[in-house]
């Protein structure tokens, strides 16, 4: 029987995190494809996807072979650091302290930079284009790999997070093929906020298990932790906004 208390949030966390990362990667791959041609853009993206898939195949089972307590503590702590970093940034963006990520602006800037980086290779390999596409898919994809492997290792199965990441990949690729433009309408900061909350909840739960905490309600505690982090992060936004409004005292 499927344990939905664990499986549901695992799929959702992997889906949302992957969606954000794939949207960011798509912006640059589209810029490469439009400016330098689709062959090098897709070659770079496919090469990076292959490397990332190999990382999941190698590290996924390797982590599952390590004693669960140790994995829970180490991976849980890493997940906590990762989630808190995302959530802190999302709070500061929601409060207007740091600017929101603008896919259209990134697309414009990438397009300009690719046009200035020498002539397009008519035949053979366009190393600049392949490298640009490869680099962005690797950079964004490595975060997806970490989330899938971490959630998979601690929950005992790579399948739920891999399903979440797979659905996100298909959705972004389909939207990219249909729209042929950056997915600027996706509310990235709201997604990042949600992912941060979910990863913090998972990280806290598994770190706690790793240091020997017996959670009340066992796996159901994850839902309480999600609610708790949502309230904490939600209350931090107006606090940070107030910090911006209050003028510094006259000297």
């Amino acid at each position: 029987m499927i344990d939905w208390v664990h499986t549901g949030p695992s799929i959702i966390a992997a889906f949302l995190a992957s969606l954000v990362e794939f949207v960011e990667a798509l912006t640059v791959v589209l810029a490469v494809g439009i400016v330098r041609g689709w062959r090098p853009a897709l070659t770079g993206a496919c090469l990076a996807s292959g490397v990332l898939l190999a990382l999941i195949v190698v590290f996924g089972p390797m982590l599952q072979a390590i004693p669960l307590n140790l994995v829970e503590l180490v991976v849980g702590a890493l997940l906590l650091l990762f989630g808190m970093r995302w959530l802190r940034k999302a709070i500061l963006r929601s409060a207007g302290v740091i600017p929101l990520h603008d896919e259209e602006a990134v697309f414009e800037s990438e397009t300009r930079s690719l046009r200035q980086s020498g002539p397009v290779a008519v035949s053979g390999w366009d190393a600049t284009a392949i490298a640009a596409s490869f680099k962005i898919v690797m950079l964004e994809g490595i975060e997806v790999v970490f989330i899938v492997v971490a959630i998979g290792a601690t929950s005992g199965s790579l399948v739920p997070p891999a399903i979440g990441a797979g659905i996100a990949l298909v959705a972004v690729v389909l939207l990219g093929v249909v729209l042929h433009r950056p997915l600027a309408v996706i509310p990235e900061n709201v997604l990042k906020f949600a992912v941060g909350v979910l990863l913090c909840a998972f990280g806290t739960f598994w770190t706690g298990e790793g240091i020997g905490i017996a959670w009340p309600g066992e796996d159901w505690s994850i839902l309480a932790l999600i609610a708790g982090f949502l309230v904490a992060a939600g209350s931090a936004v107006p606090i940070c906004r107030t910090r911006l409004i209050i003028p510094s005292p006259a000297k």
Partner: protein, 70 residues
């Protein structure tokens, strides 16, 4: 060597953006783990871990906003 350093830097930056946040989280988890060995906290073990982490997050975000607003 340079590429390896760059890859390592990228990997570290996945987890550490603000050094103070990362250090405080690790110190709190380590301290609380030791405390659990010494004190019988009972069913409040989990909620206390969460409250500590939530306080760290809110305070760090508040400090981040203050430092950026000058």
């Amino acid at each position: 060597m340079h590429t390896l350093t760059k890859i390592l830097q990228e990997l570290v930056s996945l987890f550490v953006d603000d050094g103070t946040l990362a250090a405080t989280i690790l110190i709190w988890v380590a301290f609380y783990g030791l405390l659990l060995q010494l004190l019988p906290i009972g069913s409040w073990q989990g909620p206390i871990l969460f409250l500590g982490l939530a306080a760290i997050l809110v305070e760090n975000a508040r400090r981040g906003a203050r430092s950026r607003s000058g």
